[in-house]
């Protein structure tokens, strides 16, 4: 195509990438707001900027990008059906997640975040900051940067852009994880752990990219795919390269054996951030993985499918079995998210159009339910902080019937009971796998579904069939949390009863460009 000697200026189709530009622009504005707007006005200003950015980005996505699909920026960015669908999903989820993060209850700053992230926990400096009414409004531009990274991640057209996007989405998350208002040491520990392990996995990804480049002579997915068919005798660097790249991505989605950070980080991070990570990051991670395996490495499917299948089995089993032993709600949700990642990997293994649309549908369905569940965790309080121990949730069915009913419904959604989105999603996902012949994987997935169902049902038992104990009480949320949780629960119901429109969208969006 292009001769290596001459420099050709990359053509960028701005119409295709405008949603990302809007997000990054809004994030920049957010940084400026942080610098120049008086403290008292920052919260509302930041909230306005963030929502405006997310909504504008979504509108441009639907109105402009959708009609300008294509490969652009010298093959670095691919705006195709899956990219647009996942970007849209990420944006919608981010709006809901930001609503949760902005929840203030009756205080003057976002309740989940510390007022002074830079101070040592318990130090005079922190006390001072609290007394002066400091706020952590920087979380909003951080979220926007992360969202921008995710949008690029699912649209990356070569390994380097994918790596950059991976870093852009990860770095803000490391910071967000460490900003919890309560139990700050735990939060900071989680942040450090996430950062270190994340850095390792990034290194794996980069090293793998180098090997793949060495074997195929290109970092572009399309050219890698072509080369995989032609190159002979370089499997000894191509296969390790492929596996190392996969490690980087498997880490992000929390697949076993790269999952150990998940429970610690989800537990330590502020609950809305955990919800944000459990949903959008997973969407982005699976989007990138689907593109890598379906576009670039499709020719190697004989090599990666068994590996991913084994990882899927391990992820499902470990996630489900460890979820049984958890006593902390956030850790339990973390292990549950691990087992769901395992289910999703079954869809990845399918390697067909049904598997792709099924995976995307599952991602959407699962994310709404998960976000709503994480959004409800901060409402249950004991002694001033979140009551995350399971025993503190006992008897909520009697004391707070609405919260208990909603949460139970979400749990039934996780368990995949019919008439919830969890069921239709499982069906969509596993149809692809059964069609591919991976029925044994689906059987294991179903057995593990039964195990996770036990976990979810145990919580329902606790809330409904046990008597309330201790000083657990439930805060009445503002409209922000209210809307967010309601949307999540409604999506769980609607996608369970009338999934046809979204399935349609997923099926029409399941064609990768290369």
């Amino acid at each position: 195509m292009t001769s290596p000697a001459t420099f050709t200026q990359a053509h960028i189709s701005y119409a295709a990438v405008v949603p990302m530009l809007v997000i990054f622009g809004a994030a920049m504005v957010g940084v400026l707001v942080e610098a120049f707007v008086p403290r008292a006005m920052r919260y509302w200003t930041q909230l306005g900027v963030t929502f405006a950015g997310l909504v504008a980005s979504f509108l441009t996505l639907v109105l402009i990008s959708r009609n300008n699909k294509g490969i652009t920026a010298a093959d670095a960015v691919v705006i195709d059906g899956p990219a647009l669908m996942l970007q849209g999903t990420i944006l919608v989820l981010s709006v809901l997640a930001v609503m949760l993060m902005a929840e203030r209850f009756d205080t003057r700053s976002a309740d989940a975040f510390t007022q002074s992230g830079a101070s040592v926990p318990g130090s005079p400096m922190e006390t001072n900051a609290v007394r002066l009414g400091a706020t952590s409004t920087e979380v909003f531009p951080l979220v926007l940067f992360s969202v921008g990274g995710m949008m690029l991640f699912v649209a990356a057209g070569d390994l380097l852009v994918m790596f950059i996007a991976l870093e852009v989405l990860s770095l803000p998350l490391y910071i967000l994880t460490g900003l919890a208002r309560r139990r700050r040491l735990l939060s900071q520990e989680a942040s450090l752990k996430y950062f270190l392990l994340g850095a390792f996995s990034s290194a794996f990804f980069l090293f793998g990219s180098a090997l793949v480049f060495g074997a195929t002579g290109s970092i572009k997915f399309g050219e890698i795919a072509d080369a995989v068919g032609k190159v002979n005798g370089r499997d000894d660097i191509l296969i390790p390269g492929m596996l190392l790249v996969a490690v980087g991505l498997l880490f992000k989605i929390g697949a076993v054996p790269f999952h150990t950070w998940t429970p610690d980080v989800y537990q330590g991070a502020p609950s809305p951030v955990s919800g944000f990570m459990a949903t959008t990051v997973k969407v982005a991670g699976f989007g990138a993985m689907l593109r890598l395996f379906y576009v670039a490495l499709e020719g190697l499917s004989w090599n990666w499918q068994p590996v991913i299948a084994i990882v899927a089995v391990l992820t499902m089993v470990v996630g489900a079995v460890f979820a049984v032993t958890q006593t902390d709600m956030k850790r339990l949700l973390a292990y549950s998210s691990i087992s769901h990642a395992g289910f999703l990997l079954v869809g990845v293994v399918a390697l067909n159009k049904t598997g792709l649309s099924g995976t995307m549908f599952y991602l959407v369905a699962y994310s709404f339910t998960t976000l709503a569940a994480f959004g409800m965790v901060p409402l249950v309080r004991s002694a001033g902080s979140e009551a995350t121990h399971l025993s503190q949730w006992a008897g909520l069915g009697k004391t707070s019937p609405i919260l208990a009913a909603t949460f139970s419904f979400l749990l039934l959604g996780f368990a995949g009971i019919p008439l919830t989105s969890g069921f239709t999603a499982k069906f969509a996902l596993f149809s692809g796998a059964v069609g591919h012949g991976a029925t044994w994987l689906v059987v294991i997935a179903m057995l593990m579904s039964a195990v996770t169902a036990f976990v979810y049902i145990r919580i329902i038992v606790l809330m409904y069939f046990s008597d309330p104990t201790g000083d657990t009480h439930v805060l009445f949320p503002s409209a922000l949390t209210g809307i967010s949780v309601t949307v999540g629960a409604l999506a769980t119901l609607v996608l369970g009863v009338a999934p046809a429109p979204l399935l349609n969208l997923a099926q029409h969006s399941s064609l990768f460009l290369r």
Binding site: P401, F427, V443, I457
Partner: protein, 558 residues
Amino acid sequence: MSDFPWLTTLGVIPLVGAAVVALLPKGATRNVRPIALAFSLLTLVVGIVAATQFKTSGDNPQFQLAETHSWIPQFGVSYAVGVDGMALSLILMSLVLVPISLLAAWNDIPEGGRRQQSYFALLLVLETFMVGVFAATDVFLFYVFFEAMLIPVYFLIGMFGGPRRQYAAVKFLLFSLFGGLIMLVAVIALYQQGPGGDHGFLVNSLTGLHMSESTERLLFVGFFIAFAIKAPMWPVHTWLPDAASEAKPAVAVLLVGVLDKVGTFGMIRFCLQLFPDASKWATPVVIILAVISIIYAAIAAIGQNDMMRLIAYTSVSHFGLIVLGIFAVTQTSVIGSQLYMVNHGITTAALFLFAGFLIMRGKSKNITDYGGWQRTTPVLAGVSLVAGLSALSLPGLNSFISEFLVLIGTFERYPVAAGISVVAVVLAALYILLMYKNIFTGPKQQLVAAPDGTLAMAGVNGQGGRPSTGVTKTLFDEPDTDIADIPAEAKVRGSAIRDLDVREKTVAGVLIAIMLFLGFFPKPALDLLKPAVRDTLQHVNVHDPAPHAGVTTEGSSK
């Protein structure tokens, strides 16, 4: 008139009733029970009208009163309902049992209020699912109802049951979910064997498929495990005694009498119809499991002290007979099984509800805590005896005809299995009559604490003396009961143990009337079922030219 969506209407009425009951304002909660009962009676009336639209003579399609709408075209799922004789008879049975159970459950939640609202609303929701699960003619839709039904039952057991209700509810749910999830894999795989398309999940589209032998067998096993758990058959029956024992009697009635029928119903509708060759392949194993169920559960029933568990075990035994008849696949045995499903529903309802009446008075589920109650409560003793005789298949009562049909039908093909199963008739007489003897006959018991502490009333008065009892509040410690609701009890409140009141007599009278009717004049039911049986046998023989389903042919495959 025939275009009217009868079955959808049947499903919607109880759902509306549930919503009304659940949303009643605080001041109107005293109307919860009448409203719930009214809705269930309305459903019954509509159901009877719908049944008159059903044609039993002439050449009809397999499913009548059918409605088909596209639901999730991407999956090939339709909202498709319709009934054949078997489905209609089971729906009618459910519609009869719900108001009876509601009436029997009148005082289950004595404290009233929110809990009572939830209880009756859940029962009505359950009725919707029961209609749906029998009426669904789309495999996916059936599965949706099959699984969704677990949730109201789970809450009914878990929130309103006896002391070990949590354990029982979770066990019930896990067993059912396990079977259901295995079945889901088979459901997905089945669709991919079928013609596909927007209506690819319709039972009619999936009947008579040609698939490889191993695929068909695996799919059969996937479906059968779920139905065997549901039915329940040995060795996956263990959840039933726990669930039935911990649930309120009315819930136990719907659980054992109706929900478990989904298992045997599914065996006929799905296992036999969709996988005829695999069914033949599996028949020897199924027959053996059925015979073990019949004998084992009957012996286990004899050993029970908890009368609710005893009744649950009798059901396991009877379900074994039903399965035996289904898989013997002769015209006589299948029609016997289908009739047995209806009869068993009525008989079990009577056993559970009468036992519930007794437990309400004696405050213990243990048979040894009773004795001589015939003198105190002669009417209760009488109706219990009739129900018991029906369970042991006394001629003249409903179960006899169906059990007889199953046994002679099975004997044509599997004489050994039928021969062994006949022993269950004797065992049935043992467990029923022993229970009756220990509870109702003998000397009248003291109503106050006896020195040796073994008597029923002694257990009540001693501190913590009734560990196995599910009844925490009864008529004795409930002075606030609405007098208008139970005038007979109010008059003699707390004085002594009273016999059945008007409400309970109504329940008993209706049930016994049905038993006698079906016992002496089963023709309407048999007419309804005959075409369904013909269809079933046709499906099974689709790939099998050998005419060994004929009634006159001597079975030789054993």
